[in-house]
Amino acid sequence: MASMILPLSAMFSDLVHLAGGMGILSGRILRDLFRGPFYFRLLMEQIAVVGMKSLPLILITAGSIGMVMSLQFGLGLEKFGGKLYVPKLVTATVLRELGPVFTSLMVAARVGAGIASEIGSMVVTQQIDAIRALGTSPIKKIVIPRVLACLITLPLLVAVTNIVATLGGLVVGVTELRLDANFYYLKVLGTAGLPDYFSGIAKSVFFALFISIPACYYGLNVKNGTREVGLATTKAVVSASILILVGDFFLTKLLWMIEKWA
């Protein structure tokens, strides 16, 4: 019994420590966000890194999602004569779920890992100490530009995913399922309402925080040399992925409640 309780209590203690650490970091980000100086150029650089450089990956992922969803729904529903519902189903699924979740997972893998390893390396080579010793704040110079860049670019990337995935679905719908392109297009427009867009984009704002804050936290907490940089990178990606997938359930529930209430 004790052998079970001890690891559980250690895990619980780690979780509390982690939540506390991320809470403190979030507090510092909030506090410094509204205090000058503001590093606009650094923010622009990070937007390019997070947004522009993620675009090819997002385009490939989005196109594949749309095509696969269209094919799966088409082949599955064909048996029941429900092929005509494919545009509706693909659009709703992409806008509300797959668009934000897949885009965020891809960004977590590419950008989250990059942030954690870059900051971790800066800690190991004392560059973070140098930033502090030179009278500047690593939160303002390193953390805030990365968090803001994720907050700005992830919703935009999700919007791109929505468009590309829908186009992918349309291509498969027309070529493989023999649906009329005009019919598909009209069904997409008829299905996609503002709440669908809002739901996906709202989720992506939270997912941006789930990616950037753990990545910065693990990067800043690298302590024992380069080996820990790799560990921090893994932890950042795993944490972000778990937070995105688990958080998605609660956000979906919350957003449905808001939609009902509104």
Binding site: Q126, D129, A130, R132, A133, L134, G135, S137
Partner: protein, 243 residues
């Protein structure tokens, strides 16, 4: 009393007690050599003097201000007048040498770009680094990285300089360049603390030495006092008879 005063400084990492009541002071314009065995906590003291570490107990007074009680944003003023020379240079590897040197000026002054450029070229010439402004730290030798780190630390004309093993791993030429620079600064009235294992450099530039032993200052004194006491702890440490 001094430009730098460390009073009853205590610091532990987990269960390991590193400092258990370190007390020393450095007068304005003086250079103190902080020596001791590996793991004695010399760098921890140096880092604490600029607020990179917080003491568990005790006071750290820099130019009359107790920085031990200060929060991160309150330390900015202190960090403008205290420069820290990191052992490995700690250069920003995403920036060129020029951008590394421009960093403190762009952050803390309203100097125009032309004035910044002139100041940087002046500093590069002083450290024998002409022509390296467009290079990235990864393209520099260890000695050059240290000199760039030193040049960056000097950009704000600090009143206090903290050197963390500035000559470790350097060839005699680079060691001499750094020794001469420390002496120049001392002659200009800059107060400094030098953490080192390089005893010839310590003897060349320091006014006094403090020996860290078992979490306290085991012995300290001016170079003259040390020479008069061949059986003292510092002499034993230098001769490899104490750690």
């Amino acid at each position: 009393m001094g430009m730098i005063e460390v009073v009853d400084f205590k610091k532990s990492f987990g269960a390991k007690v590193v400092h258990n009541g370190v007390t020393f002071y450095v007068k304005k314009g003086e250079c103190l050599g902080l020596i001791g065995g590996s793991g004695a906590g010399k760098s921890v003291i140096l880092r604490s003097l600029i607020g990179l570490e917080k003491p568990d107990e005790g006071r750290i007074i820099i130019d009359g201000e107790n920085i031990a009680a200060m929060r991160e944003n309150e330390l900015v003023g202190v960090r403008k007048k205290v420069a820290y020379v990191f052992q490995g240079g700690a250069l920003f590897d995403s920036m060129t040498v020029y951008e590394n040197l421009a960093y403190p000026l762009r952050e803390h002054t309203r100097m125009e770009e032309t004035a910044i450029k002139n100041r940087i070229l002046e500093q590069l010439a002083e450290f024998g680094l002409q022509g390296s402004e467009s290079l990235y730290p990864g393209n520099l030798s260890g000695g050059m990285q240290k000199r760039v780190g030193l040049a960056r630390a000097m950009m704000m004309n600090p009143e206090i300089v903290l050197y963390d093993e500035p000559t470790a791993g350097l060839d005699p030429y680079n060691t001499k360049v750094i020794q001469e620079h420390i002496l120049n600064l001392k002659n200009r009235g800059v107060t400094s603390i030098l953490v080192t294992h390089d005893m010839p450099t310590a003897f060349a530039v320091c006014d006094k030495l403090a020996f860290l032993l078992k979490g306290r200052i085991g012995a300290q004194g001016t170079l003259e006092e040390l020479k008069k006491d061949p059986q003292g702890l510092i002499t034993k440490f230098i001769n490899g008879e104490a750690s």
